[in-house]
Structure formats: C-alpha cells, structure tokens
C-alpha cells in the first residue's frame, strides 16, 4: 500500500492509521493501475500541499487560527497561509467556532458554492458535538449533521499544534485519493443549479 508520507514525521507517530489503511484497501480492490497511481500520487502531492482555506471564523477558535497564521506558529511554512474570501476559490473550509441554527443555512450555502475537490475540517468541540453548549436550544450539535466532515480536531480551543496535526491528517487523507475514478468525477450536468 502507498503509505502517505509527511515530511519529517514518521508514519507510526500518527494515530488513526487504521482508517487510512481501510481506505486504501478499498482502493486496491478496484485494482489501481501502476501508471495511473503514479499520476495520482503526483496530483495528490500538488493538492495536499496547496490547501487554501476559506476565511470562516465564528468564535473563539478563530483567534487560535489567527495565532496559527502569526509569526510564532507560521502556517505559511506548510503553504496554508493563503486564505481566500470567495468560496469558489477555496479548497477547504475550516469551521472554526460554534454553528448555530441561524448560521447553519449560511454554512450549507457556502459549502455548496465551493468548487470540487473540497474538504471540511471541524475545529473545536462545538463543531464536533455542540461542545460546552450541548444543552442549548440554538446550537447545531455537530456540523456533520449538515455537511460531510473529513477531519475532526477536538479541543476548546485546540492548541495550534493540534491544528497542525489535524491539517497533516487531512494531507495524508488527500494523498490516498484516487483522481481518476473516485474524486472529481464530472457526472453533474453543467446546467444544474450551481449558485
């Protein structure tokens, strides 16, 4: 199996390798071709190292994200510092902070407007399960009720190092995608609703 490699961090130091191994086992069942899989590796290298996130911060976790972009933690080293304001140009949406019932349709609309391939990282306890606000009447109990999530990063707020760990997990997941056949299929007709 192709082990997704992250520069200077050994494969064994990541937890949750079983999830990725299962993903790869599913891919191998479809019998990936050698030439195609090398091309996939090249494309996935490009995609995983160039993740542009949408500026979307609702509450406290957004401040930790700003600290992540600041000089001490410097996410520019990974290439993540480019944040786009328009959802059409962003690759991933980092949901930072609690999502309330009033905000949920807006989040769904933003997610729908993004161009494929797109990823979602759920940061903080509030986005995973409602967090400290579990008994509230106005909080969505986990954003996976409304959009599909790729990586969950727990914490309240997570430390910047935890952010990095979550992003590296996303990079590893992207490195195992199959370009020809699974992701980025153009099955939708162009006339369909793309607003």
């Amino acid at each position: 199996m192709r082990e997704p490699t992250i520069k200077s961090i050994p494969y064994e130091e990541f937890t949750d390798n079983e999830y990725l191994e299962k993903m790869v086992a599913d891919l191998n069942e479809k019998g990936t071709n050698v030439i195609v899989s090398n091309l996939d590796a090249f494309i996935n290298w490009g995609r995983s190292n160039s993740l542009w996130s949408l500026t979307f911060g609702t509450s406290c976790c957004a401040i930790e994200f700003m600290a992540l972009g600041a000089a001490r933690y410097d996410m520019a080293r990974f290439g993540f510092e480019v944040t786009r304001n328009s959802p059409r140009q962003a690759d991933m949406i980092m949901v930072l902070g609690t999502i309330t019932h009033k905000m949920a349709p807006v989040l769904k609309r933003l997610y729908d407007q993004m161009a494929e391939p797109k990823y979602v990282i759920a940061i903080g306890g509030c986005t995973i399960s409602g967090g400290p606000f579990r008994s509230s009447y106005h909080v969505v109990m986990g954003i996976d009720e409304i959009i599909p999530v790729d990586v969950f990063v727990p914490g309240c707020p997570p430390r910047p190092e935890a952010f990095y760990y979550g992003m590296m997990q996303l990079q590893r997941k992207i490195k195992l995608e199959n370009f020809f056949g699974t992701v980025n299929r153009k099955e939708k007709e162009p006339e369909e609703d793309k607003e």
């Binding site: 957004a62 930790e64 019932h101 905000m103 349709p105 106005h138 909080v139």
Partner: protein
C-alpha cells in the same frame, strides 16, 4: 432626601426589595413618570434585564449618572402573559431601542412606543420565547431554509382612547439600494450581518442583524449550578475571558458575603490587566488587518504570544483559561510568574515605539482615521457605549475608577480621556491604556502577599434570595452581571450586560454620511466581539 424618599415622592405606591441590591419596584402605570423624572439625573441606562417571575413577566432597569456615578435600579412587571406590554423608555435613553428588542426576542414582552419591535437574535420565523420558564426546548428544530428578512417592523402605540394599536414602520423603502455585509466576514470580529442602505458611496442607514452566534448561554445558566456557569463566561467575550469571570465571581461572592484572601485579590488584578493588554494588542492587530497593512498584525501577535505564555504556565490555557472560581483562583501562581511578567514589561515598553512608527504616524492611516466616525459625548452616553469608545468622546466611564473592585482603589493609574470622538481618538485611547495597564502591574507585581489562593466554600453554593449585580471594566467596556436568585443552587435569571451590543447599535449613528471604506474603519475601532453581543 434619600433615594427612597425621592422615589416615593414620584411613585407613591413603590416598594423596595428587602434583600440584595437597592431595587425600587413600581407598577407599570407609575413606571413611565418615574423614569421621566429620573432621566434628568441618571442619563446612562446600563441595562434592561427582562425576566420571567412565573406569575408575571417583568423588566429591571439599571441606571447610572454620568456625573455623580450614583446607581439606581427600577423593577416593573406585568401580569399579562398572553400579550405582555410595558412602556418603552427609548425616547429617554436611545440604547433602550436595542435592549428592548432583546427582551422582546427572548421573553415576548413588547414595549409601547419602541419604533422597532423585531426579534434580534433568533430567526424571524422562530416560535416561542426561550427565556420563559414554560418554554419547550425542542419546539424549534433545525430549520435549513434561508431566512427571509422583512423590510418593515411593527410598533405598538397608545391611541388617544387608551387602546393599543399596531403601526407598521419602514426599515428600508422599495427603491433603496440595500447591500448585505456578512455574516461570513473576512474580518475577524465574528459573524455579524448588516444591511446597509447606500446612496452611491455614502452610507445612509445600517441595520444590524445579530444572532448568528447566539448560543443561548443565559438560558443554559438557569439549569447549571453557579460554578458551572463560570465555564460559559469565558466563551462569551473570549478576549476578556478572565474579566468576565471576575464579574460573575464578584457578584456571587458579594451576594454570599464571602471575603476572598488578599493574595487572590492581587492575582486577580494582575491577571485582569494582563488580559487587558492581550485584548488591546489584538485590537491593534485586527484594526491594521482591516485597514490593509498586514505587517503590524504580526507585531501585535508576537507580543501577545509572550502574554499567553505567562498565562499558560499558571492556568494551562491560552485563550480559555478557567482560572477564577468563586472564592479565589483555581490554582496558585507558577513560580516563574513574577520574573516573566517583569521581563515582559521591560520588553514591551521598549518595543511599543515600533507600533507607533509603523502605523500611528503613517500618513495613509492618519487620513483614514482622523475625523472619521465622530461620536459626541452625549451620543455615547445615550447609546451606552462604554469602554474605550466612550472615553474617546470624553465620557469618564471607567468602572475601575468610579466603582472600584479588587485592588483598583489601592493602585494609582490615570483614566485616559480624549475629546474628539473620532476613530483616531478611539485608537489612541487603547494604545495609551496599555501603558496604564503596565503601570498597574508594576505597582503590584512585587508586593503579592503570601496566603491561600482560594477560600473554602460549601460544596454546593447557594445564593440567598434577592437581586444582585456586579460590574467590571472589561477590555471593551463595562461588563455587568445581573443575578436574580430564588435561594436555590441554580440562578433563576443570570444576565450579562454585553459590552458590544450598544456599540453595534452605535454604528448607525457613527456611520451616518460616511463612505463604505470608513464603515470598516469605524467598525474596527469600535472594537466589539460578536459572541459577546449574541451571548
């Protein structure tokens, strides 16, 4: 004559609360005349707290005088739960316009004479009023349809014959060019949506729509014990996290009559001031980010990281710290605390000139800030804009000076006042306050007495029956806590005075006639944090 006699003269049938704060209870018929008389002396309406007393629905009004700093509280209620109506005071204090909307949204009480009776936090198609005791928590499931926002609003007026009539008021006309800002903002203040009526480049009217981060904290607090409510206070205005906690701890400690140790008072004061430095540095960084100069943003964060290191050693957290508890602080200071704080102050004093060189003296920054978004002193008082915003217009409203708590009456510091009231004044007030915070810390850091950091409290904390309140000077303004207790271990009503809600309301006044780009500069200098507004 005393306050009691004065009130009895105007409203003869008033009664007074026995326990807790001094609160005058008047009937809703005499309420309006009492408020009109009180308005002459008490020109600052601190907050309007609506609450549900099971049989009746009522509201508490907290007033303060901007010259003598005396405070008074008035309570009124109505027995009608189907269609509760109370007289409005928004023609006396302009800030009541938005505070009464909040009471309507969460409790259903409508105010006669308020021109804009719309919901403010919840969706316009929400059913029910959450803060009522008989509200069903599952009555409004997640609704994924897009919300339609009306362009008209209703007002309840009193006709000559004594009946109530509903009148439609226009927010935006049919031919107005209305543009939507947010809620997804690239700026960092959070999720606030504003509908702005533009005439070419000029802003004519701003209508804020809050509630995108309304988490229902006040309702949640009613089912939590007092120590549990502290967990949520950090997450409202997370940049004044410790100061918010200080307010709740002060309120409960004063209500229970609990004295905390001298050491805990020192620690609380020093950590409050460190939090203020932290918040003002973030204000600076976000202001320059909104204005487009990205490099000073990194300067602010670099120094902020040093403060976060100091606090993390002691409390374990960077942003959410969970440090103060009822009775003191959770754990004692780290052994390196004093050394690191002193080193930080020396470093920061030496480096502050860089901030002024790169931004304050810059001709582009000056052109974009000086003379923009003026608010006069009377406007800030009427709008209730406390904090740096009020002080930049000449209103001396620092709670640390006029209603001291912790050790603020024992340290010497200046209250920074400017008179111009424009964006540049608001910016300079905060830069100069940072110097004052450092001065306060320097006076205290070497004299922390020995002692325990936390006094023993009962395992279950119960506050005696009554109405209590406390206020602190948070980084953004006066943060108040209003507690209505029925003697049990859960608060019957716990309300937080938001520092940002009056500031958002002030946007309409401050931005009248300015351009769109100025709108952003004004919003950045008013310095609000949205989770604090929405709670």
């Amino acid at each position: 004559m005393s306050m009691k006699d004065l009130i009895l003269k105007i409203a003869p049938s008033a009664t007074f609360e026995e326990q807790g704060d001094f609160v005058a209870v008047v009937s809703k018929e005499e309420f309006r005349s009492l408020m009109e008389k009180l308005h002459a002396d008490y020109d600052y309406l601190r907050d309007v707290v609506g609450f549900d007393l099971v049989e009746s629905l009522g509201a508490l009004y907290y007033l303060e005088s901007s010259t003598t700093f005396e405070r008074v509280a008035v309570k009124t209620s109505t027995l009608d739960r189907e269609n509760p109506l109370l007289p409005s005071v928004c023609d006396l204090w302009k800030t009541a316009e938005i505070k009464e909307r909040e009471v309507y949204d969460l409790l259903g009480i409508r105010f006669i004479g308020n021109p804009d009776m719309r919901r403010i936090f919840l969706r316009e198609d929400w059913v029910g009023y959450p803060l009522r005791k008989d509200y069903d928590m599952d009555s409004n499931p997640l609704n994924m349809t897009n919300e339609q926002n009306a362009d008209t609003t209703t007002e309840v007026t009193l006709t000559a014959g004594g009946d109530f009539k509903e009148v439609q008021n226009q927010i935006f006309g049919k031919d107005d060019f209305v543009v939507n800002f947010g809620p997804q903002h690239p700026s960092t203040h959070g999720v606030l949506r504003m509908r702005v009526h533009l005439d070419g480049e000029e802003v004519k009217k701003v209508d804020p729509i809050c509630g995108y981060i309304h988490r229902g904290i006040e309702k949640m607090c009613e089912s939590l014990t007092y120590p549990q409510t502290l967990a949520l206070t950090d997450r409202m205005d997370y940049l004044s996290a410790n100061q918010n906690r200080h307010a709740v701890c002060l309120c409960v400690e004063q209500a229970m009559g609990l004295e905390i140790s001298e050491r805990a008072q020192y620690i609380r004061t020093i950590v409050d001031e460190l939090q203020r430095l932290n918040s003002h540095l973030l204000f600076f960084s976000c202001l320059v980010l909104d204005m487009g100069g990205l490099t000073p943003f990194f300067y602010g964060f670099r120094d902020r990281e040093m403060i976060l290191d100091i606090l993390e050693d002691t409390t374990g957290g960077r942003l959410i710290q969970n440090y103060y508890v009822i009775g003191g602080v959770q754990a004692d200071l780290h052994p390196d605390f004093q050394k690191k704080v002193k080193a930080f102050i020396v470093h920061f004093r030496g480096i502050l000139h860089e901030y002024h060189e790169i931004f304050t003296g810059n001709v582009i920054a000056r052109n974009r800030l000086i003379g923009i978004g003026k608010l006069t002193r009377e406007q800030t008082i009427a709008l209730g804009c406390t904090g740096g915003t009020g002080r930049a217009s000449g209103w001396a409203n620092d709670v640390r000076k006029h209603h001291p708590y912790a050790l603020y009456n024992k340290v010497e510091f200046k209250e920074i006042l400017h008179t111009e009231g424009d964006c540049y004044a608001r910016y300079m007030v905060r830069m100069e306050e940072m110097l004052e915070s450092m001065h306060i810390i320097e006076q205290l850091i070497d004299n922390i007495p020995e002692g325990e950091c936390k006094v023993k409290t009962k395992p279950i904390i119960k506050v005696p029956e009554g109405i209590y309140s406390a206020s602190v000077e948070a980084s953004r303004g006066e943060f108040g806590v209003f507690l209505v207790s029925d003697g049990g271990k859960n608060p019957a009503r716990l309300h937080f005075r938001s520092t940002g809600l009056p500031l958002v309301h002030a946007l309409d006044t401050a931005c009248a006639g300015s351009k769109i780009a100025d709108f952003i500069a004004i919003g950045a200098t008013l310095d609000y944090v949205i989770p604090d507004i929405d709670r």
